[in-house]
Each structure stands twice: as structure tokens, then as C-alpha cells.
């Protein structure tokens, strides 16, 4: 499998070659900070460009899109990582360590349980309250995305 070819099939995937490795994505990435740079979007993109390879670290992205907002070359960093996940699932399967998140998603509509703490914080930031939902479960059931 050549990741480059698979990505090039998508409009956003074509932006892979925009990256000039300035490190602005990683420098401010909350996941990178939390994982002592084990998750490193710049490295993921560079690896894809040079080697065309995929590794498990792509699953550490929280999809906050900070990297994509800041990217000076307008590389769609977060979208690319989502695309890479799609390619990953196509060729392998959803990795075991992601399973609890999918279970959560099926259970409450979010990858994490939303508790009082989250909603308190949202209130402070003038954001509307969010509630658990079962709609995602229906979708997952119909699309076969839910684990047996």
C-alpha cells in the first residue's frame, strides 16, 4: 500500500505535498504535548511524503484542528490525518486501543462521557450545554461500525 497514492485520490489529500516541515503544527498540538511528542503531526506527514507509510500514532489526534488553522502552507493537516485513518481502516481494521472510544460513541454519542465538569466549563465559556445522545448508536448499527 502506498499512502501517497491513496491520499492523492482525495482533494484534501492532495495538500500533502504542501508541507515544508516547519513544525508549527506539532509545536502547539495538545496531543503532542500530552504524549511527549509521541504523536507528532509533522512527522506523520513527512513520513507519508517520504516513505508512504502509516503507523498507529495517527489515532492519537483529537481533531482539534489547531494545526490546520495555523499551518502556513495551508496543508490540511487534520483532514489528512482523518483521511489516513480511513486508509488505515480500509487496509487493516480499527485498532484495539480505539475500541473503547467506539463503544463510548455508541453508548453516549461522544468518545468521552460528558459529565458535569465539561458542561460547567462550557458554561464558563458561554457555550451551550451538551447532552448524551443515542442517535450515533443507530448510525453505527446501520453502517456496521459497531463492534460485536
Amino acid at each position: 500500500m502506498d499512502l501517497r497514492k491513496e491520499l492523492a485520490e482525495d482533494v484534501d489529500g492532495k495538500t500533502l505535498n504542501y508541507c515544508f516541515s516547519c513544525g508549527m503544527c506539532t509545536g502547539g498540538c495538545p496531543s503532542a504535548m500530552m504524549t511527549e511528542s509521541e504523536y507528532n503531526p509533522r512527522r506523520i506527514l513527512h513520513r507519508a511524503v517520504i516513505e508512504g507509510k502509516l503507523e498507529d500514532d495517527i489515532w492519537l489526534c483529537t481533531n482539534c484542528y489547531l494545526c490546520q488553522e495555523r499551518c502556513p502552507t495551508k496543508t490540511k493537516v487534520a483532514d489528512l490525518i482523518s483521511l489516513m485513518r480511513r486508509v488505515y481502516v480500509k487496509h487493516k481494521s480499527i485498532p484495539d486501543f480505539i475500541k473503547p472510544l467506539v463503544v463510548n460513541l455508541g453508548a453516549c454519542g461522544f468518545t468521552q462521557h460528558i459529565g458535569e465538569l465539561e458542561n460547567k466549563r462550557r458554561k464558563r465559556m458561554n457555550l451551550p450545554e451538551i447532552k448524551h445522545t443515542s442517535e450515533i448508536r443507530k448510525i453505527l448499527k446501520k453502517t456496521g461500525g459497531l463492534y460485536e
Binding site: R43, R70, T73
Partner: protein, 726 residues
Amino acid sequence: MRTVLKKIRNKRVKSGSKPQTKVFICTCKNEIILPNELDFGEETTIIEDINSKDTIEKIKKAALNSRVILAGPSPRIMEKHFPEGNIEFVNIREHVSWVGHKPDKIISLISGAIAKQKNSENIEAKKIPIKNKSALVIGGGIAGLESARHIAKAGIKVFLIEKEPFLGGVVGKLDRLYPEGTPNSHTLYPLINEVLGNENIKIYTNSEIEQIEGGLGDYKIIIKTKGNIIEGKNLRKCEEACPISVDDDGIERKAFYYMPTYPDSYCIDFSSCTKCGECVKICPEISLEEKTVSLNVGAIVVATGLKDYDASLIKEYGYGKYDNVLTKLQFERKFSSGLIKPESVVIINCAGQRDQNYLPYCSRVCCMIGLKEAKLIKDVSPQTEVYVNYIDMRSYGSFEELYNTVREQYGVRFIQGRPSEIIKDDDKLLVRSEDILLGKNIEIKTDYVVLMTGFVPDTGLLDKLGIPTENGFPTEYVNSSRSVDSNPKSVFIAGAAAYPKGVSETITDAREAAQGVTELLIQEHAVFKTPTAIINSDICGEIDCRICLSACPYGAVYLKDEKVSVNPELCMGCGICTATCAAGANQLIGCEDRGMLSQITNTVEEGDILAFLCKWSSYNAADKTGYEGLSYPENVKIIRIPCTGRVDAQMILKAYSSGAKSVLIAGCPPDACHYFTGNFKARKRVIALRELIEQFGINPKSLRIEWIGKEESKRFVDVVNELNNK
């Protein structure tokens, strides 16, 4: 359909009553074998050596009152002998003899040229009188001063305009210049003194351009000026009384202030003055009135320099929010004046530059400025920790030495990785970035952050002068031998107004601009030999489509009293506009529709491949096949054109109707067109035309457009062979 087209072919264009046509054929010392019969119905002379002075004189004389065709070596070589441009060259050496083609090919090539000459207007050089032998230099920075000094030295009157109250520009505000860190006084003070000592230079500070009218040799400029020197006593007391405080790139000063350049007097910074009148109370002679001055000049030097990009737009770095985040100029001024004494400094290269969200380009000099600031800090305070965050270190040429010195001897630490954000951490700043070489996220606690923000042009003037811009800087002038040339040809762009430059480059530039101005103004007339387009306003007026206005890459085609006209000073003779004119009202002299079509009919024979080759690149590639001893099929006939953009649908269809089996259009590589985009326009035209010719029963694959560079002779051979074998 093919037969219909053939009928058109037989309707050859009849020539009108034109001067006599004379044909000269050079055998290049019997190197070129001529066909046995040479009868064109015109006076034909065979010459042996084109390089002899007598022969050249003879041909020049003939060209005075008759149309001359000169068959011999490539026009690439011949043009130097006949710069007047009114001779039609036929290349029978490189394109016939040297590629091993039969001598009979010469006949069709020469007949084509004769037909073209008969149906073309004579090319005449344009003479524009130089009415005002004086120059205007806009900008009193290092570029303007240096240009003014050199123009004035040649005895030409110079008006030097500066919008600030003092001369010196950005360099005047600096402490040091890279690479060595020489104080600016080494360069600036002697330069100002020389400018002041020259009687040919008239300086207007506190002045701005109000209006520009006219063109080469005859510009009328209206400036608004508030006067240079303030008359009166007790000016120092006025400064004390002035209530307006200004942050002048890091240094606090009053709106009534002094700078050690010129004028040697306290002056008012009118951009911050509120006209409160406090200074007038102390010194009643001070006038705040504005005057209008009218100047007549023949040429203009734009030396408007640059300014810093607004750093507050780069949200991640907190400029304007955190006091200790400074721009490069602010930091240098504060630090060298001893206003700040940091224990640690982080220098961020490419801050907001090479960034599609802010400035997309590289300002070229900031890497060196960053190194200069690092050296400045370490020179003054060796214990201060200095970090430089960079994406790529672009210390080109000898500046690598500065990079080495700063790293090896001063121990400045370099981190590859552009910081993602700066946050406040107690009284310090926290710079977050990735260290790409470690592959790790790092945080550096620091006292000060210096942003190497990019440079933007300090002018809105280029629009007034009709100079096309990109990112605010003038579009690079591709076909110039000098970096300062622009179009209009009486405007020269010196120094950082063209693109960000260091001081030494700016000085070189300023001298080039001065040389250009001097060269132009010492003449009685400016002579332009390039043929230009002309508009037949009768035909044009009927159609009035105005498409050629947008086609011109130079803005030379414009509306004058609602009529399409061509500005001969701007026209570069590419013919792109001529090709767009469906009515035939727009004609490039020497390359008119009529001339080109009759050349095509008379050159092309059944089964030929007609190659339209751009004179700047592909034609030279075809020449190269000759001197390399390569060969290509006999039936390839070459027509030299100024640009592929000149080739229009008519010409291509004419080639087919005259019997050509294939047509090749070849020009400069992408983005390298001598006239910016002629090659792309030609490509679009060819793609559209392919669909059309298919309807006529012509194989669309027989029409090709290729980029063939000057050295790509083998590619040329491959392409024509492919076309021949189809």
C-alpha cells in the same frame, strides 16, 4: 472541408504598390549550396561573406529605400549588424545547409519571406524627445540618496523627495548593518554629506507626490511639501513643549523632534502632529502651511523602500498584547539604546512570512538580520542566552560566515522549528515550538521575543506610475538585463522598493538605476527599435470588443478618449494583442496578419510541417540542431515569431489550407515566457483550436504546442519526427 481550405490557399494576397524588393543571399564562403535556379522575380544578389564591412554597408544602404530580404546565417547572429530591424532574415545556414537539407528548400523559404516583406509595414524606430533633462528620485533612504548622488555627478539636475521630515529612511533608524555589524554611520553620514554638497540635487523633505502626468522625457510632477527646515529660535524648547509622544519603532520621541541626518534642525513629524499650537507659542515663526510645487522631469527613480509587516496581525505571537514581544527594528533600537537588558532572547525567523495566512513570500534578508541581532546581543552582553527559531537558514553566499560565527564563537542556539504560540508565564514569556531535529515539543522561557516579521513595500506609488505589481512589489521585469529596469522605460526601481534587499545590494541597485537615468537623459531623443502594435481605429471602432486591452501583459494597450490605443513607450512588441484581435484592427508592425499569412502560403508546400518557433527559445533550439550536426525531416519549415502568443487561429488554419500536414508551435518553458504569459495564452488557443480543426477533418493530434528551451535541440528533433511519422 479540406478542399475548401485549399481553394482559399490559392487566393494569394496581392501586393500593393510598395517599394522595390531586394534579395541578398549569402553563401557563407560557399558553405551554403544554393539551388541551380534562383528566380524570385526580384533583384537578387549573391554575396559570399556577410561579415565584411562593405557588404553590410551595401545592404544597409539598400534597406533605406527598398524592402530587403537577407538569406544567410540565423537572425540570432545577423541582428547585430542590422539593429534597425527593417530587414527580413531567412535562415538558410542553420535551418537548411547545416541540417543536411536539399538546397531547393531555400526557394520556398525565401519566397515566403518576400511575400511577408511585401505585405508588411516598414519598421521604423520610434524617437521620443527628452524635453526635461532632470530626474525625480522618490525616497530619501539609502537607495534614493545613492541614486541621486550618481545622477547628479553626471551633471543632471535631481529632485529628491522624502515623505518623512528627515533623510535616511529605514537605515537611518538602525544601529548596525549586517554582516559585520558596522554602525550605519559608516555608510549613511558620508552619503548624506555628499548629497548635500552637490548643487545639482534639490531636496524636498516632508513632501509627497500629489500627481504624476506625462511620460518619458516629459513628466509633470506635482508635489505637496511642508518645507524642509523650520525657521526660528528656541526649537529645543519647542520639543519640550510638544505634548505628543510617538513610539518611533521602539524609541519614544515627541512629534517635534531631531534626527542626526538632514536637515540639521528640529522638525515636525506631520503624521502625528495634531496642530495643537504649543510649539508656535514658543516660536511664532513656525509655519504649518503646505505648499504645492510643480516639477518637470524626464525620468523617475522609485526608491520608496520598505516597511515592517504589521506584527499584530500574527495572532499566535501576541504582539501588541505582550510588551516584551518586539519587532526586529524595535528590539534593535531599544537594545542598542540600552533601554532593555534581557537575560534571554528568542528570535523567531519567518514570523508571519512564507505563510499563506499572512505574508506568502520570503523577505530574503531577515535570516541575516536575525543573525545580526544575535551578534549585537552577544557583543554587548555575552551572558545573555540567545535562541534562534528558524524553518530554513537562508544565509546565502558569504553570509554563511556570519551564521558560522554566531553559532561557533558566540554560542547562539539554533532550533529548527517555527514556534506555534507564545504565552505569558509570570513575568516571562513561554515560546512553544517543536524542535524538529529532536522530534520533540519544547518550551523556552525568555525575557524577550524578537519577531523577524517580513517586509512590505512602502508605496502606493507604483499604481500611479502604471507599474504592475505582485504582493505590492513591482512584477519582475523578465526581459531586462538590469534588475532596476521597469516598464515604462523612464521609471527605474532602485533598492528595496523592488523587493526586500540588504544595504549593499540596495547600493548596487541605486547605482544601476542612476546609470539608467543618466543613459536616458543625456540623449536628445530616446530611440526604441522594437516594433510595436498599432490600431486601425476605423475597424476597431466598429467592433469595439476591447479584448486586446486585457491581453497586453504591459498595460500598453489602453483607452484614450474611448478609443483603443497603444502606448509605444510600454509596448514590447510581443504581438499577443494582435493575435487576440479578430477584426484585424490591431497589428504588430513587421508581424501583421497580412504579412504572416502570405508568408505561410508561400512557404508551405503539400505535406510540410510548419513550425512557429518563438525567437527567444525554441528558434535557438532549432539553430542548435544545425551546429550540433543533428538532422530532422526536410519538410519541416520554420517561421520565426516574437512569441507563441502571436500565433492566432488564422495563421494555423492558413498553414493547413496551404497544405501543411502538421503544425508545431513551440516557445519558452512554462512561467519563463519573455512576455510573462504569451506561451500560456498560445496553449489555451491551441487546445480550443484542436476541437475546431477536428470538424474540418484534420487530425487534432497534428496540431501541437510544446515548450522547447534554447538548449533542447534533441527534443525539437524528437517532436518534429513524431509529427512527421503520424
